[in-house]
């Protein structure tokens, strides 16, 4: 059961549709597993509806509704009911069935990484999967910029606590930690790094937030 949740301000930016795609993905993956945060987002979506109603209204063109009906009457694309799709996690869509079998790049004895930034074209953030082998330790490190992380598999622990599957954590330069993968599974996390691309000079360090 998840214990570490996104804060209300992040959920609000999610509900408003203002987050980047990688950040929205982190929230979405957490929501899939967290009824508590789903309920908070429901409320925030209602806030959005109330705000929309609270704002001025702008009259639509006279022909607007007729155009709409003409489109619905003439185009099957505009009129066919949406059929519920089988539930497929966005994670599975992005990464396939087995995240353990991805082409991981080992960086240290215990640490592997995989950069998936190219799955999100046009974004300014770096999106990285990290794997810490079961029982493995990452060296002590701090962070540059905000780093949003969600645990996809296994768990890691540091001095702040234990972060289990689907836990959500935001780290920044104030947070020095030394994560250890706990439990019997490799710990896999998804991180979105707000650090700007100017940091690509320190490529290895950027690729591996465990090490920064």
């Amino acid at each position: 059961m998840t214990r570490h949740h996104p804060d209300s301000l992040s959920l609000m930016e999610y509900s408003a549709g203002n987050l980047s795609e990688p950040h929205a993905l982190c929230i979405r993956l957490h929501l899939e597993q967290c009824p508590h945060c789903r309920s908070r987002v429901d409320t925030l979506n209602s806030l959005g509806a109330v705000m929309m109603d609270h704002q001025p209204k702008v009259t639509v063109a006279d022909s607007s509704f007729d155009q709409l009906m003409a489109r619905i009457d003439s185009s099957p694309q505009a009129s066919s009911p949406v059929v519920p799709q089988p539930k497929v996690s966005p994670l599975q869509k992005l990464l396939g069935d087995d995240i353990n079998a991805l082409p991981w790049k080992r960086q240290l004895a215990d640490v592997s990484v995989l950069d998936i930034t190219d799955k999100f074209p046009g974004q300014n953030e770096r999106v990285v999967l990290q794997k810490l082998v079961a029982g493995g330790k990452a060296p002590a490190h701090t962070h540059r910029g905000d780093e949003t992380t969600i645990v996809l598999q296994g768990a890691f622990a540091d001095q702040k606590g234990v972060f289990n599957q689907w836990d959500f954590v935001v780290l920044n330069e104030q947070d020095e930690h030394r994560p250890v993968a706990v439990g019997c599974e490799d710990c896999i996390t998804l991180s979105v790094l707000s650090a700007p691309l100017k940091l690509t000079g320190t490529f290895t360090r950027l690729l591996n937030p465990f090490l920064r």
Binding site: S8, H36, G48, V170
Partner: protein
Amino acid sequence: MMTIASSNTITVKERPVTTLEQQPTKTEGRKDPWGVLLEKVGKHQDRAAYHALFEHFAPQIKYYAISNGLASHAEELVQEVFVSIWRRSCLYDWRKAAASTWIFTIARNQRIDMLRKMQRTSAEMAVETEDLWQIPGDNEDEPVTSLHRLMSERRIRESLSQLPEEQITVIAKVYMEHKSHQMVADELNIPLGTVKSRVRLALNKLKVILQDQNV
């Protein structure tokens, strides 16, 4: 016991989700009038109901488009939102969201979709907008908290009138103008911390963050 991991993360206790089964009859009277119309569209393709929804929501959505910087595409966004409402109304479940909340999420997603399509071709999109931003009721097989959801919209409507204007302004910019808290701070020329505290105060009042601790 766990403590917070950073100022951006909170630790909360899981609360049991109220299931519909525990509220078998009380919820029936809470159907909102727009929800009734949506169901008529969903079940019978009722054009009069659809027209009534259009009359009410289209001017809101047009303003939403304009305030989001899509003035030259405002009519187009209204059309896209209403096509989506027509096609999805069969999935609408009044127990999962009030009609206006459901329509807000569709407007939001169509706005995101429109911006994504302007920026790149759909072939490049590995995930669809709705994989990231869900419409309430789609693929959602969890027990329903209908009473809570409908009540929350009513409660927010009532509480909003009691909020100071400066708090409403900040929330409006986040929801209506697609602005991050940082962008709101820059625009109003106030510190980011002030923006965040106004939002927190408002969300507290609206009981959105009742369960947050250590914030």
